[in-house]
């Protein structure tokens, strides 16, 4: 439904899986590094200790000088297990079971057993062939064939003479894409096999198909026709039918009529023979538009929507794979990860990002109203709730209030938080859900 052109893949946003460091186990060089450094440190320490009388035995040092990377960070970004809750399927089927009667029962037949051979041109140089054989039919014919499989013959124009292409098809295959040399050519095909005595046996012949041309026409003759737009074509067809011999298509027939004058055809302004057209004009036009340009445009990446769609599909796949938690999270858990982008640019040298969020969560009666900092919060069906805030440095006061449905009873919790960070070295802020706000009840 949308036009597409072939294109080199180019991502507008880094795939979340690629953005995060994803290696399933420490590389051997990392392991080697860890082994090397402790050895150096031990030597240095030994030297120091040697100078100092050491009544106590040497303090045991960890083997690794670099802090161990928790294995979880080295795991691939796929959820560890399939989700216990949530369908996890691409298509949302509603809570009500779909009407059974209309849901597709069974599968489409593997074959209709007609033995028909279908041939269709797919583009100037490719044909598609399909033969409708059941498995048994196929097995039987395969066994009769000296090659053990069937053969597809493609003929140009008609079934006479030598085939343009002879394809040995896979014994279990029921279709094939065949390359043909000639664009703009009529092809027919035959399915068969060579039997024991070397004779060809035809199982089926197809109808004809036409490969589209892939070059401009050699014929540069020009004929014009004048077709009055306001007259229905049926009327024009009936006009010509009486007057002109059979099988002349409408446009040409109209011009024949016009030449001989016809009362109902308005006279045309353009003379029937074409106005002069110079080679210079032809060249000038070719500079503006030619099949060369069309091909170059095909080679380039032309169509935005298709690219968006393909990228979008890929993004979705990698995004959903990067989800850590099931969509229906238990109370208190992080609702979802923040945006998968912005995990840091690999290849920039050593880097470290850190950030903090505040989650306020709880539960109350299903029918109660809860506000956090004055803002009403939606409860989950079980009466639980959670809400996330960004937590930049600062001091915060956050009243959390629950009021019963009939407003006769209520409870409140006045929470106070503060964050104060001191950085050592260049530390970035980990990307955080940009929609999170700091808890500032005064301005809520």
């Amino acid at each position: 439904m949308k036009p597409i052109k072939s294109s080199p893949r180019k991502k507008t946003a880094a795939s979340p899986r690629r953005a995060k460091t994803a290696s399933t186990k420490p590389s051997s060089s990392a392991r080697a590094a860890r082994r090397k450094t402790p050895a150096k440190e031990e030597t240095a320490e030994a030297t120091i200790l040697a100078k100092v009388p050491a009544p106590a035995p040497p303090r045991e040092r960890t083997r690794k000088a670099i802090p161990a990377i928790p294995p979880i960070l080295l795991e691939d970004d796929r959820p560890l297990a399939t989700h216990a809750s949530g369908p996890g399927q691409r298509y949302a089927l509603g809570p009500t079971a779909p009407s059974e009667r209309l849901e597709a029962e069974g599968e489409l037949p593997e074959s209709y057993g007609t033995q028909q051979l279908l041939l269709a041109a797919r583009d100037p140089h490719w044909l598609y062939a399909h033969w409708d054989l059941t498995r048994e039919q196929q097995r039987r014919y395969n066994s009769l064939s000296t090659d053990g499989h069937l053969i597809l013959r493609i003929y140009a124009n008609s079934l006479r003479g030598r085939p343009a292409v002879e394809v040995h098809v896979h014994p279990e295959s029921r279709h094939w894409f065949v390359y043909v040399n000639r664009a703009g050519t009529r092809y027919v095909s035959e399915l068969g096999f060579y039997s024991g005595n070397g004779k060809w046996k035809t199982l089926s012949t197809s109808g004809a198909t036409l490969t589209p041309p892939d070059t401009v026409a050699a014929d540069t003759s020009v004929e014009f026709a004048t077709i009055p737009f306001e007259l229905p074509l049926a009327k024009l067809v009936s006009l010509v039918k009486e007057a002109v011999r059979e099988n002349v298509p409408l446009a040409a027939a109209l011009e024949e009529l016009r030449v001989h004058g016809h009362p109902e055809l308005p006279a045309t302004k353009t003379p029937r023979s074409a106005a002069a057209w110079t080679p210079a004009q032809e060249r000038a036009l070719a500079e503006i538009i030619s099949m060369d340009r069309v091909h170059r445009v095909w080679m380039g990446s032309l169509e935005i929507t298709e690219l968006i769609r393909r990228q979008f599909a890929e993004e979705l796949v990698s995004m959903s794979a990067a989800q850590w938690t099931a969509p229906t999270s238990p109370p208190g858990a992080v609702g979802a990860i923040s945006s998968p982008w912005g995990a840091g640019q690999p290849g920039k040298g050593f880097w470290f990002n850190v950030n903090a969020e505040l989650i306020v969560y709880g539960a109350t009666e299903l029918t109660a109203t809860v506000t956090i900092g004055g803002r009403p919060i939606r409860l989950r069906p079980d009466g639980s709730f959670s809400y996330r805030f960004a937590l930049p440095d600062g001091q915060y006061e956050l009243p959390v209030v629950a009021v019963s449905a009939d407003q006769t009873d209520g409870r409140a919790a006045e929470m106070k938080f503060s964050r104060e960070t001191e950085f050592r070295g260049d530390v970035g802020a980990s990307a955080q859900d940009p929609q999170l706000k700091a808890p500032e009840p005064a301005t809520l």
């Binding site: 439904m1 507008t12 009667r101 209309l102 589209p212 004929e223 095909w298």
Partner: protein, 524 residues
């Protein structure tokens, strides 16, 4: 006035309607398009009218899209969807209270959604009628497409199928717009010999092909792609202009990739707390697009900056100016070479303007206004208008071609989707058998024959193999093809060997309910 420009917007969606589920993910395609493309387009055209502009635009509204726009169930669901969006915008206004850039955007979305809702109700929830009005005022040419957007070249070996796809569409157009369609957007601009004779029967006078459909025509068209050609059967074929396409579509050079424009992916449906956005997500169990997005494209890195609406509109105005100057230059250059005023045909998917490219509707508005007021090199026309005043054209046979990837039918016939065709082949032949078999069908048989036609049409939609190829919703597409084929097979069975199950047929009719007056004899 040295030449003509015809802007064609192609609006199409496959028939997706699932009354059996309360909410269905793929129905969102329609809701998004209405909110971001169709209603904004109507509002833009209303403003042109209000300002007394005598503009011209051409718009395809495919039969499946019209069916959905007119369907009461989908209209209800759209209103529900839009209300949800408005509510989300209100929540967002609240929660972004401290953060001015986001707060301003939340207010913007809220206002825009309210405007959409106002317009939707002002149209009586009937967008088809709204577009129809513009046609009746002479400002818009509405054209049709094949009934279920089937790729006609792949039906070429069964001419009744081509006939049914085109004539059912023609009939449906008549019921929507009260007149006959004069032009058609062949699905994917896919043309093959055998199509134009049916167009002649339907009195459809012109269609669009991709550039090479004209350049490779036989004999060679003298005027390249800058004038229509008549097929031997008298239908005008107009080729897509490459330059105007490239400037908008091209990923590298095209306008929509500008860093100031809104980024499509950074949707709050992915960024915000899951429980918070859950009621507004297209599928309630996983993240998806809501339509509220706060970031601009910015660049290639994943760090996106906040969307600046003002800067984005400036970009749209700049691009509209650039596009205008490019078209003027192009037409001047062509007019100097050709011995007649050139015609540029610039077709685009309607959903590009607003859905994929958020500022698209504003770009279109700016461009049309500039073209109308600020220059006199070219005039905006509809193809029908052009053909009315220029009835003399060269006769040539267009090349079989499409605007799909690589120019032919590879997208719709490859290893991911070839399995569909043998089934369609058999079903098509059976449908012809059925259409010819019943001389005097009973009313129940007529219903079954019509439904068989509907199921076959739905199975033939090019959207399913397209989706299988691009891999965006393959399970859904596979299921659709399978369901429609199985239903057809069952109906065929009941009509030929058993007896029609009236209750089951009734359910089918209520679900796959498009083309109520379908004429199954088109397959005969």
């Amino acid at each position: 006035m040295q030449g003509y420009l015809s802007l064609v917007l192609h609006a199409h969606l496959p028939f997706v309607r699932h009354p059996e589920h309360d909410k269905f993910l793929e129905e969102n395609w329609l809701f998004e398009a209405i909110t971001e493309t169709y209603v904004p387009l109507i509002r833009t055209m209303e403003r042109w009218l209000r300002d007394g502009m005598d503009t011209r635009l051409t718009l395809t509204l495919t039969p499946t899209l019209c069916s959905m726009l007119l369907d009461p169930l989908l209209q209800d669901r759209y209103v529900r969807h839009l209300s949800g969006l408005i509510e989300l915008a209100e929540k967002e206004i609240h929660r972004t209270h401290w953060d001015k850039p986001f707060h301003d955007l939340a207010l913007l979305y809220h206002r825009r959604f309210l405007d959409v809702r106002d317009s939707y109700f002002a149209c009586g929830r009937n967008l088809v009628a709204a577009f129809r009005q513009f046609q009746e005022l002479g400002k818009l040419e509405i054209i049709t497409s094949a009934a279920t957007h089937a790729l006609l070249p792949l039906l070429a070996n069964h001419p009744p199928s081509i006939r049914a796809q085109l004539l059912v569409a023609r009939d449906h157009y008549r019921s929507c717009f009260g007149r006959d369609p004069r032009g058609i957007w062949l699905p994917e601009c896919a043309y093959v010999d055998g199509v134009d004779i049916v167009l002649q029967e339907a009195n459809i006078r012109w269609f669009v092909t991709d550039t090479h459909g004209i350049l490779n025509a036989r004999p060679r068209p003298r005027y390249g792609v800058f004038a229509p050609i008549f097929t031997p059967n008298g239908i005008a074929a107009i080729g897509r202009d490459l330059d105007s396409a490239k400037q908008v579509w091209s990923k590298n050079e095209g306008y929509p990739g500008d860093s100031r424009y809104r980024d499509f992916y950074r949707d709050v449906g992915f960024d915000l707390d899951f429980d918070y956005v859950k009621p507004h997500l297209p599928a309630s169990d996983k993240r998806g697009f809501t339509g509220i997005k706060y970031y601009r494209i910015t660049g290639d890195s994943p760090d996106k900056q906040v969307y600046d609406r003002h800067a984005a509109l400036e970009a749209a105005a700049d691009h509209a100016q650039h596009f205008l100057e490019a078209r003027m230059g192009q037409i001047r250059r062509l007019a100097a070479i050709l011995d007649r005023p050139p015609l540029l045909l610039s077709p685009y998917d309607a959903e590009l303007f607003g859905h994929w490219w958020y500022e698209g509707p504003e770009f279109l508005d700016f461009f049309v206004r500039k073209a109308y007021y600020d220059q006199d090199v070219f005039t905006l026309v509809t193809p029908s208008e052009y053909l009315e005043s220029h009835p003399t054209q060269q006769v040539a046979t267009p090349s079989a071609s499409s605007w799909g990837e690589e120019g032919y039918w590879r997208v719709w016939l490859n290893e991911t989707n070839e399995w569909i065709y043998p089934h369609l082949q058999v079903a098509q032949e059976r449908m012809t058998e059925l259409a010819r078999r019943f001389e005097n069908p009973t009313p129940l048989q007529v219903r079954a024959l019509r439904q068989a036609g509907r199921e076959l049409l739905l199975a033939q939609a090019s959207d399913w193999p397209f989706i299988l190829r691009t891999g965006t919703s393959p399970e859904y597409a596979r299921k659709r093809v399978k369901d429609h084929l199985l239903r057809f097979i069952a109906l065929h069975d009941q009509l030929t060997r058993a007896s029609v199950d009236a209750a089951w047929l009734g359910e089918l009719e209520s679900r796959d309910n498009l083309f109520p007056e379908i004429n199954y004899r088109y397959w005969a």
